[in-house]
């Protein structure tokens, strides 16, 4: 199953929910925001939101940057 995560193509062996996906990636889920197909998914909905074929996932977090940070992607 092909999906896009932060602009990069990835392959999932089976459909999985967002919560498990983040856990598998080893991501500290505090202060994380997730968009699925450009729709913001509240943290409470992660366990019941399943990532499907051709879905696009954006996983974002806060980082240092006043006016100085420039997009790296």
């Amino acid at each position: 199953m092909k999906i896009t995560v932060n602009g990069t193509k990835e392959t999932l062996s089976a459909p999985t929910d967002i919560d498990s996906f983040l856990q598998e990636k080893g991501i500290d889920r505090k202060g994380i925001v997730v968009e699925l197909n450009r729709e913001i998914i509240p943290q409470g909905d992660w366990p019941k939101t399943v990532i499907g074929e051709n879905d696009s996932l954006e996983i974002l977090r806060f980082m240092g940057g006043g006016a100085v940070a420039w997009r790296t992607h």
Partner: protein, 257 residues
């Protein structure tokens, strides 16, 4: 609170806003934020990098601070609105600093797109702090759009060149019934003090603190500079003159016939 800055639904005692970019170390940043006395801290939103383990920066921001996510990386109003909504969804409050910066070389903002983003986000209940090139007409449009303040640049981002846009900022302060927060380019506490003496409501500093030899000590110095400038503004600076004016009578000198 004496001389509080009422802004975005809050009352602030401290008029230094601090940015979180370019610090060599998160602990150093935390110390600098504390020493600055700043109550408002700007942060950026970025994609997670799966290759490197990054710490959650928010754990180094004192919890009593107001977070002001910025929309850096946005090249137009639509991208800025999207970033702002995502930031708000993280639960950090309703403040947002609009940065629409299509220019890579000087990092100058697109004032028109900034106005568009401000209209949309203010309508959604955000407290909107737009970063702009100091321009009176843009500032008027931002006021009408519901901005909480305007944030004109003193000089291009990260240049530490000071108040190069001084006269344009002075016009905004005189003409716009919104707090004017000088953002970008301020390199030294004396320059921050000058902005405050002119009547700026606050100053946002990042690079000048983060890249100083001792960021925490520089943060404390900016705090003092901004306080001094604010007090001078409230005290009403004396008039300047072309010619000398003695400060004591030019009569009654010792030994004169």
């Amino acid at each position: 609170m004496e001389d509080a800055l009422k802004i975005g639904g809050k009352e602030l005692e401290n008029r230094l806003f601090i940015g979180t970019g370019k610090f060599s170390d998160n602990r150093l940043m935390e110390e600098a934020i504390r020493r600055s006395g700043a109550q408002v801290v700007t942060v950026a939103l970025r994609r997670i990098d799966f290759e490197s383990s990054q710490e959650n920066i928010l754990q180094y921001v004192p919890h009593e601070c107001i977070l002001m996510p910025n929309t850096s990386g946005a090249r137009n109003a639509g991208e800025a609105v999207r970033i702002a909504r995502v930031a708000k969804a993280s639960g950090c409050g309703n403040w947002v600093k609009i940065e629409v910066v299509p220019d890579h070389k000087y990092l100058l903002p697109d004032n028109d797109e900034t106005v568009k983003a401000t209209e949309i986000l203010a309508g959604e209940g955000f407290a909107v702090f737009p970063y702009i090139n100091p321009d009176l007409i843009t500032a008027k449009k931002l006021k009408d759009a519901g901005a909480a303040a305007v944030m004109p640049l003193g000089a291009p981002i990260g240049t530490n060149r000071g108040l190069e846009t001084r006269e344009m900022i002075r016009i905004l302060i005189n003409e716009i019934a919104l707090p004017v927060i000088v953002d970008a380019g301020i390199g030294k506490p004396s320059e921050a003090a000058q902005a405050m003496e002119m009547g700026a409501a606050a100053v946002l500093v990042n690079t000048a603190i983060a890249t100083a030899q001792d960021p925490a000590a520089m943060a404390a110095a900016f705090d003092l500079g901004i306080k001094a400038g604010r007090r001078a503004y409230l005290a009403g600076p004396a008039a300047t003159r072309e010619r000398a004016e003695a400060s004591s009578p030019l009569t009654g000198f010792l030994g004169r016939e």
